[in-house]
Amino acid sequence: MTDTTAPQPAAAQATPAMQRSVFDHRLQPRFMLPLLALLIAFPLIAQATGEDFYIGVASRVLVFGLAAASLNFILGFGGMVSFGHAAFVGLGAYTVGLLMQQGISSAWLAWPLAMLMGAVFSLLVGAISLRTQGVYFIMITLAFAQMLYYLIMSFKALGGDDGLSLPSRSDISLGLDLAQDATFYYVVLALVSTSLLLMARVLNARFGHVLQAIKENETRMQAIGFPVYRYKLVAFSLAGAFAGLAGALLANQGSFVGPGMLQWTQSGILLIMVILGGVGHLYGGLLGAAVFLLLEEVLAAYTVHWQLGLGAVLLMVVLVAPNGLLSLRRGMWSKR
């Protein structure tokens, strides 16, 4: 005999397809695909209109978008406010620069090595820093970044204050010439979108769910028995790897590496990009980097005192959109 009013078995109710966690982040194809199409078409449009200059700008935006997204990965989804993220970026850049100086220009060697350096250094920094919390975590990550900054700046072999000028871009072979700005742009676009997809994949996996749950309530996760420290450390180190890649691309983009890349204000700017775009939004870092760099570009075209305008805009965003620009969009949608 079956009782029709009895609740259905739990297994039937929660099929895998229905088990959408609050921690899932959809890639939103209807938003992403047109964006990707536009990004792919961009160099063609720029060349057709004779504005080749903007291909370089777009590469820079994408690279910084990757750096900011890697910071957002640990900040927005893991609650770790790293104030030393520029160190991982800078380390990746110097890896490329140093190899190039030794005459090794293969991208296939230099870029993965840059990621490895970022991952290893962030593993070291994270292993010590993650024992502290809150403001103390912010300060200790900053401390390690400063150590690296001074260390790199004082070594003559690394160019000291002046940095290193790279004779050429990395060599990727495959018949691709990275010296061509458009080719470089497409390689960057491919790497940045792959990285973002990877990050989204990790966030939607069990690992990402645990990470986000730790952000929500670390004590509870600890009590349930999750090795919280290890999860955070792995995430921190993963972010370091992506930051290292961003650094390698940045070095290639400008054909230059310098200690300025590791300054604390650079870490601050990466934080600003994330906050500006939207902490904990999948595209937050990318959007923040785009808005920040384009504002800089536009304002600098009008006045030498562009920092005044940039500061004013940032201040306004803080006061008007407390959770970043992407929160505005959500607000407009919910009003509908």
Partner: protein, 306 residues
């Protein structure tokens, strides 16, 4: 020779530490009471230095310039608190970082518009330009001695203010537990405006006093701001005593490191390594110090919150 070197470096360290304390004191109270990260604190130091230099040049008197400059900086600080910072107290640390970073960018640019990109020169009072003989064969610049004197006097005044007055009692209560202090009748909002004004004044004193030693230039607040943060984190956030001890520790370690590390490296590993690695190791010493302190005492040496 060696005792003289050590004596000289100790005095240099003391002088640097005391100036750091002036910056850190305001920063730690703002942080401790309002739980506010203020990256624009270094900007007040820069603005203070510029205002002191300008008033000194205009009036021809260093002391008059210092007094007027401090007053003007207090005005700027209070104005800043009243118009912008007030809106950031109840926000999370990230919003505060972004908001105050925006202020930092803007004040750099405003200073550049008003005073130009060239560094400003500020001369010490003529009477104190020379060295003073302290011991046989050991003379020390008079102006640096004055900085030490002023630093000690301000530290003493601040200590009296915080430990012996009603205002100080409320400040300490606010730093230890803001909600409880409010419940017990302290007007934390007004208190904070006062603390902020005090912090701005201390910034201007530090900027004005250091002006003749360093170049008064755009961006001068940024590197020293990080040091001030290091100081308050080592000392324990919200604690004046911690700020003083942390500042002296950082001042002495930094100064000693810059002299002794290259010497030691030179003896142990030869001049080439010393020239290369010496300055690097000396620069990172204070960050190693901070990491070590936080490793063993995550709340700093004298935590104000318990």
């Amino acid at each position: 020779m060696n005792t003289i070197l050590i004596l000289e470096q100790s005095l240099n360290g003391l002088q640097f530490g005391l100036m750091l304390f002036l910056l850190a004191a305001g920063l730690t109270l703002v942080f401790g009471i309002m739980d506010m990260i203020n990256l624009a604190h270094g900007s007040l130091y820069m603005i203070g230095a510029y205002l002191v230099a300008t008033f000194s040049q205009a009036s021809g008197s260093f002391w008059l310039g210092l007094g007027l400059g401090v007053l003007a900086t207090v005005l700027v600080g209070v104005l800043l608190e009243y118009t912008i910072l007030r809106r950031l107290y109840h926000r999370d640390h990230l919003s505060q970082v972004m908001g105050t970073f925006a202020i930092l960018l803007m004040s750099n640019e405003i200073v550049r518009i008003i005073w130009g990109a060239q560094p400003l020169m500020l001369n010490p009072p003529a009477a104190l330009a020379g060295p003073v003989m302290l011991m046989d064969g050991f003379s020390y610049p008079a102006y640096r001695l004055l900085i030490i004197g002023v630093g000690l006097a301000v530290a003493l005044l601040l200590w009296l203010l915080v430990t012996r007055t009603r205002f100080g009692m409320q400040v300490r209560a606010g730093a230890a537990n803001r909600e409880m202090a409010t419940a017990m009748g302290a007007n934390v909002r007004r208190l904070f405006t006062l603390v902020f004004a005090l912090g701005a004044a201390l910034c201007a004193v530090a900027g004005g006093m250091l002006g003749p030693l360093l170049a008064v230039q755009v961006g001068m607040g940024e590197s020293i701001l990080i040091l001030a943060f290091v100081v308050i984190v080592i000392g324990g956030i919200g604690s004046i005593r911690g700020a003083l001890l942390g500042a002296l520790l950082v001042g002495l370690v930094d100064t000693a490191g810059r002299t002794l590390v290259p010497l030691l490296f030179d003896k142990a590993m030869g001049p080439e390594v010393a020239a290369n690695a010496g300055p690097a190791v000396a620069s990172i010493l204070i960050y190693v110090l901070m990491a070590a302190v936080l490793f063993y005492k995550p709340q700093g040496l004298f935590p104000a919150h318990d």
